[in-house]
């Protein structure tokens, strides 16, 4: 291996590491309601963002709307401190394109949430998958597309078997309806894997 080849290999290792950190950092900001910081993790040329059944929102404008207005609620009073969104970012399989400029990643998530539901505070477990795209701009990795698909969203008291989905949350005025929202027990294989099988190549 010559020095150029070696440099390329090291670059690839660094890219994967940086993307894994980007994804985990997103989670840590999300846990702490740091919505402006999340917005800055997205490319200005972001393609789209899609979370659960909210629908597809295009462009950086859509990213801003979902994090700053819908989830973040910048025009609402701050949340009570018992409201919690812990989203564990687990098991990344990240593939960087041969030109080193874009990448795709699958992660899974386990969530511990507490939020008002109707008139009452509820605690719930959620599970879901990301199939995301990333882009490297000026030497930094950013999100270019984020898609989180929900497997279940269930009150702690009931579990996924008894209550797979606590409620629908479609947003008005989105660009497209959700592309793959079929929660448990219809969840299997909704979002295709970006990666090829490492042995068979299929």
């Amino acid at each position: 291996m010559n020095i150029e080849e070696l440099e390329k290999q090291v670059q690839l290792a660094e890219d994967i590491q940086e993307i894994e950190h980007l994804q985990r950092t997103y989670g840590y900001y999300f846990d702490n309601n740091m919505w402006a910081e999340i917005l800055d993790l997205f490319s200005d040329n972001a393609e789209s963002v899609e979370i659960a059944d909210h629908g597809v929102l295009y462009g950086k404008k859509g990213v801003e709307r979902i994090y700053m207005d819908v989830i973040g609620g910048r025009n609402r009073p701050p949340r009570d401190s018992w409201v919690q969104f812990i989203v564990m970012q687990i098991g990344g399989v990240v593939d960087v394109a041969p030109d080193g400029k874009t990448a795709e990643g699958r992660f899974q998530t386990w969530l511990f949430e507490a939020k008002p539901y109707g008139a009452y505070p509820r605690a719930e477990y959620l599970h879901g998958y990301y199939e995301n795209k990333y882009v490297k701009e000026n030497g930094k990795w950013k999100f270019s597309k984020l898609h989180w698909n929900n497997t279940f969203c269930s009150p702690v008291e009931d579990g996924w078997l008894n209550l797979p989905l606590m409620g629908w949350m479609p947003l008005p005025g989105v660009d497209e309806p959700p592309s793959a929202f079929h929660p448990y027990p219809y969840h299997r294989g909704n979002v295709p894997y970006h990666f090829k099988h490492p042995v068979t190549g299929k």
């Binding site: 070696l6 290999q9 098991g91 078997l161 219809y186 299997r188 099988h197």
Partner: protein, 197 residues
Amino acid sequence: MNLAELEKQVTRLEDIQEIENLQRMYGYYFDIGRYQEVIDLFSENTESVEITDHGVFRGKEGVNRMYAGMVGMKRPGWMFFEVIQSQGVIEVAPDGKTATGRWYTPAFECRPFGGTKKQTWEFGVYSNEYVKENGRWYFKKLHWNLIYWTSYERGFLKVPKLSDTPFPHADAPATAYHPYPSGYHVPFPFKHPVTGQ
């Protein structure tokens, strides 16, 4: 560091990354019941696969036998096994040809149980071995050992395991099946990084 040494270091980093991906892909294929894809992740020279108290299945033929009943099996949507592959510690042998890995796995499940559907929590540990053949990493040995398998509603303190599940067509009985609260843990494949013990 000269170029050859640097190349060795980089290869080691790539090996760890590839093995982590292999293990996580196993999880992603397993989750949605793609067992043929799971089987294809194992080396032709596989030593064994052992899952909970199902028993030991030897060789690639054993891998096929272990997962074969599941390949193409139509599972209703409510039956599911979300096994979270987390916290890998991978050690590549100095010659770069084999590796070991230990992982934790919380799991959400739902399966038939005595004529009803039951939602369950499972928790276990992998202690796996990997082999590099033709530049690619494969499973050489997979061992997942159960810590608890409990009902969603009751928890592991009250119900550490729901039942025993030995497979009659295994080559040998389970080697390390001692669920909670025995305190047993599968031996670590790795040495303490500071003391070396």
